[in-house]
């Protein structure tokens, strides 16, 4: 199966197949033999890729830590890719959903659909653990949708705003 993976600003196309207890991974056509083992819990892995040993930690929030360095990662599989092509192709992948990092109360909404935002502009303010946290735009773009309004409670993971 093919996957499109975005790691920070870089994109990789991966294809892989399982061979016994190993994976053969084709990263942009280079084949790489990868052995995987759990380290105490399922989100902590040891990867030996081409005999190089890596410590890998998978976090809920779309973060992967490799040898102590944390990368933002997004995985889309073949099906999602097909879907994306149907509904408008590559550009559509550029949408970003800003989600609540924790449960809390929305105490401020600073944008409305159609607003242009720059990286770092405030979008929504959530109060949690007696602290107000302003969620900021991860990049430049246009506000496509706003899903919340002041005074409502949100759960961690709820989508608040979509930027395109």
């Amino acid at each position: 199966m093919a996957y499109l993976v975005t790691v920070e600003e870089k994109r990789f196309k991966l294809d892989l197949k399982r061979e016994g207890n190993k994976f053969i991974v084709y990263v942009d056509t280079d084949p790489l033999e990868v052995s995987v083992a759990e380290v105490g819990n399922p989100s902590h892995l040891s990867l030996i890729a081409g005999n190089r040993s890596y410590d890998v930690q998978i976090e809920d929030e779309g973060m992967v830590t490799v040898n102590g360095e944390t990368f933002r990662v997004k995985v889309e599989d073949e099906r999602a890719l097909h879907l994306a092509q149907f509904t408008g192709g590559a550009r559509h992948l550029e949408e970003e959903a800003i989600t609540a990092p924790m449960p809390g109360l929305v105490v401020g909404v600073e944008v409305k659909p159609g607003d242009r935002v720059r990286e770092g502009d405030g979008l929504v303010v959530i109060e949690a653990m007696k602290m107000q946290n302003e969620l900021k735009a991860p990049r430049e773009g246009k506000v496509k949708e706003v899903f919340v309004k002041q005074g409502i409670s949100v759960n961690g993971g709820d989508t608040l705003v979509v930027i395109e």
Partner: protein
């Protein structure tokens, strides 16, 4: 004054420093008592002490700062002494006084010494009177703007406006232009009043690129005083120390002797006893100026312990129990080099935002020359109510160069999952060429650091890992056994990017 070691000591603190003091007590055969807030029921210190007493709700003002409750626990448990750690009540004159009047030994200096040195103007006057260099400035509280203008006329701009009751960088304000002076004074006085309950301010010349170098001192009740050499603490962010080391990269034998003498003089002139720290600013020409004296155990005390072999907490307990110092100045030698990194529950990639939550996995570094002072454990929920310092990582090595390599190695082993920590920040500092050369000062973070680096590691492996993890997750989903663990991995693929920068 008794000379027998205490049989029972109360540790009135939490986190790594409470554990540090409890360990010293255990090694000295002293029974231990501690206090805890409702948020710290399963905290390390609560579990480490022989006896533990709940003293109130999570906010420190309702628990760790409640003097009367802590005194009550000491009396009820029969503790002969109270060690305050650092922070909370460590430099609180009222607390030291309350201990004195209840005949409980306060492990620290007298309330009189705390009061004298806590008033930064008084402390400055005292040191200046003893011939210790101080930074040029008003030398006294300012009552009018005219006085301020007159002082600035003498010492020149830029200047620093400081609160007499401040300290540790709190309530300070730099003035670089004459027209900013008058409003800055008004604001500073008003802030000092509301923050410290005392609007008194004073002015000092602002040193442009100073180093922060401090001397650890020990003084017993019989007039014996020693200093244990220096610690360089110039790696600071908003006046909060982040990395400390000993010896200082700029230290020479001559300068150490000169500054050490000044430190000893500061102790004697203030009638100080127990462990303390004399802080100096050192300018690029290696002129040094008294900054303030900290009348408590410092966060960074283990740096000195590693290079001298002297256990400062045990010395505190010995001094407080009435024993004379067993160390003479000529026996104190700095051997090798030590570095400390303060590990905080903060996200260095997101403006050091506090990152509280449950520690889901913890692997602390080990092996040669590594010391971990930890206040956490796997499964511990870091409370939001207290300081974000969760642990200190220290290394010792024969040379500074080896210590730097060792610290990098130790940082690479540190695994703290469930929260963000400052470990990646420290890795960055330890690779910074200015730091490596030892050519840095208190402007390091602002001017030399350059922020968190772009990822240098292998993006490709991160991509491979993410895909394999999502496949493993699918496999796990297929078996009911792994359903729970798999669920959280599933999110990896399902969520979109962009949700972290809040």
């Amino acid at each position: 004054m008794k000379r027998e070691m205490f049989k029972k000591v109360l540790v009135a603190n939490r986190g790594e420093i409470a554990v540090r003091v409890l360990r010293a007590c255990r090694e000295l055969g002293i029974s231990t008592v501690t206090v805890y807030s409702e948020a710290d029921r399963n905290a390390l210190h609560t579990r480490y002490a022989d006896e533990a007493y709940e003293i109130g709700p999570p906010p420190a003002t309702e628990s760790y700062l409640r003097i009367e409750r802590i005194i009550e626990v000491a009396k009820r448990s029969g503790a002969q002494a109270i060690h305050p750690g650092y922070g909370f009540l460590a430099e609180n004159t009222h607390f030291a006084q309350a201990c004195e009047s209840e005949k409980i030994t306060f492990v620290g200096p007298s309330s009189k010494a705390i009061r004298l040195l806590g008033d930064k103007i008084e402390a400055r006057k005292t040191m200046e009177g003893a011939g210790i260099p101080v930074i040029p400035g008003s030398g006294k509280e300012l009552s009018t703007e005219e006085e301020a203008v007159e002082v600035v006329g003498k010492i020149g701009l830029p200047v620093l406006i400081k609160a007499a009751a401040g300290g540790g960088g709190k309530g300070m304000r730099i003035v670089r232009k004459r027209e900013e002076l008058a409003p800055a004074i008004r604001q500073a006085a008003s802030e000092a009043g509301s923050t410290f309950g005392n609007p008194t301010i004073y002015i000092e010349k602002y040193l442009e690129s100073p180093r922060h170098i401090e001397f650890q001192v020990l003084a017993d009740n019989y007039g014996n005083v020693v200093h244990l050499g220096e610690r360089e603490c110039s790696i600071q962010r908003r006046y909060q120390k982040l990395v400390e080391e000993s010896p200082s990269p700029i230290m020479t034998e001559e300068l150490r002797e000169e500054m050490g003498k000044a430190a000893l003089k500061a102790v004697k002139v203030s009638g100080y006893t127990n462990a303390g720290t004399v802080e100096f600013m050192v300018d690029p020409q290696k002129n040094f100026y008294f900054l303030e004296m900290n009348t408590r155990l410092q966060v960074e005390h283990p740096v000195t312990e590693l290079v001298t072999g002297i256990d400062i907490v045990k010395e505190q307990l010995k001094i407080s129990s009435g024993q004379p110092l067993s160390i003479h100045q000529e026996e104190v030698r700095l051997f090798g080099a030590a570095i400390e990194c303060r590990i905080a529950a903060e996200d260095p990639e997101n403006n050091f935002m506090p990152s509280m939550g449950k520690i889901t996995e913890l692997v602390e570094p080990g092996g040669p020359g590594v010391r971990v002072e930890s206040g956490i454990f796997a499964g511990f929920e870091v409370p939001i109510f207290y300081d974000p310092l969760i642990a200190k990582l220290l290394v010792w090595a024969p040379t500074r160069e080896e210590a730097i390599f060792r610290m990098r190695r130790a940082l690479s082993e540190y695994t703290i999952r469930g929260i963000k920590t400052s470990v990646p920040f420290h890795q960055e500092v330890l690779h910074n060429p200015h730091f490596v050369k030892g050519e840095y000062n208190t402007t390091f973070i602002e001017k030399m650091f350059g922020g968190m680096r772009l990822k240098r590691g292998d993006h490709r492996i991160a991509a491979v890992a993410a895909v394999i993890a999502s496949i493993q997750r699918e496999k796990a989903l297929a078996t009911s056994k792994g359903r729970k663990e798999a669920h959280s991995l599933w999110k990896l693929a399902a969520r979109q990017a962009g949700l972290r920068r809040f």
